[in-house]
Symmetry: D2
Subunit: 130 residues, 4 copies
């Protein structure tokens, strides 16, 4: 958990958005992000890119909890379910399968408890090369 | 093009990141985003969420150029190819198929000319309801 | 359940492969498919296309259980986790979100109890038009 | 091209469906599949699983043309654009990026010249292990 907090704190983009780690370990990671006006699009809703960021980061953290820190995210798939307006976003990701070198992770993002995005991603150990 | 610029200017999240419209119209949209330190992750690379944002926004703009402004993005799939470090990101999206109510769009993101992300998305007219 | 069985029986491609409905209703569908040599690729493993078929059909059936029969599958994302060799494939799909006109569905495919594929899909009511 | 033909001929599932290699090499692969009644769903359209199979196989062949034969497909994303009814399906896949161990590939499937499915996939060298 301390590791996850220090990694998130070392990500300038996560600081710019204002994300925090809620839980981390054993193949699961949860992030929270309070909605504020800078995160919106032209209709006042949370920008899709903010939701994508949460899926991306929660998936990578959940994978990192089983594969270690030296990983790269290979692919991501996201389905938008309903718009997010106000309150707090929570992204919860969990590993559904892992091998020695890869993890496949699912993720749900809710806004004040209402599911607004589902996604999944594949994360690999970074290739060892010069 | 003026429409696209005004929509992007009306997105607080796009202003926070610093994106600009390069071209827009006839099923194609191109965005640019200069890399700066606030957009990085813990290893100094551009955060995946920034790349996701570019895919999301470029896909939605390209779809909007044929479907109009009243649209919602339904799903997104992203493959990360190589890390982005310095210089300028360019996201180019083009509609590969459209019906009356939907568009499917592909997108490439390059960093100083090197392809670093490919993706695609599906965009729908907003359902007409109260 | 009778409805699901009759739909599957009316699909020549499902008959060609040999799929059966195990359960159906309330946003959930489960299909089974005994592995036989005609379903393999050149290394003797089950062909990826067979697994794709199972995800596609289970996702569509689960969506149909809440949206009705007049639907089209819009998109699918599949992650392959481990090869399938022998025994029986089971695909279980469940709706994670639905609106009046759409459902987003997750799906797991296991081979003799070992998870070998995860996926998700988006299914829409067929547009009403001439 | 001879290699691709012999691999396809060694896939019992491809023989069951009736696919043929049209072209192969330098990061590109094209397959054809004549539509016949066994490939349909309950409304007389080509079953989605047939289209998924074509994307899967064309993506894997295109990747194999640059990575060699010892590969596994990691993930696939498919968007359905319009139904396929009669005539001949053609799946064309092309590598958009490759590293030493991976390739990312896009694919279009057309039915008698009309684009009906777009997709993409990620293919990896098989991990070297006992």
């Amino acid at each position: 958990m301390e590791l996850a907090r220090s990694v998130l704190a070392a990500q300038p983009f996560s600081a710019l958005l204002g994300a925090e780690v809620v839980s981390f370990g054993d193949g699961v990671a949860e992030l929270r992000l309070p909605i504020r006006d800078e995160l919106r699009q032209q209709h006042g809703l949370v920008h899709g890119g903010v939701l994508d960021y949460l899926v991306d980061n929660a998936v990578t953290f959940a994978a990192g909890s089983v594969l270690g820190a030296d990983i790269v995210t290979a692919s991501l798939a996201v389905d938008y379910l309903r718009p997010a307006r106000d309150g707090e976003l929570r992204a919860r990701a969990w590993v559904v399968h892992r091998s020695r070198s890869q993890a496949v992770v699912r993720c749900d993002v809710a806004c004040d408890g209402d599911l607004c995005v589902t996604g999944s991603g594949r994360v690999s150990l970074r290739p060892t090369s010069g």
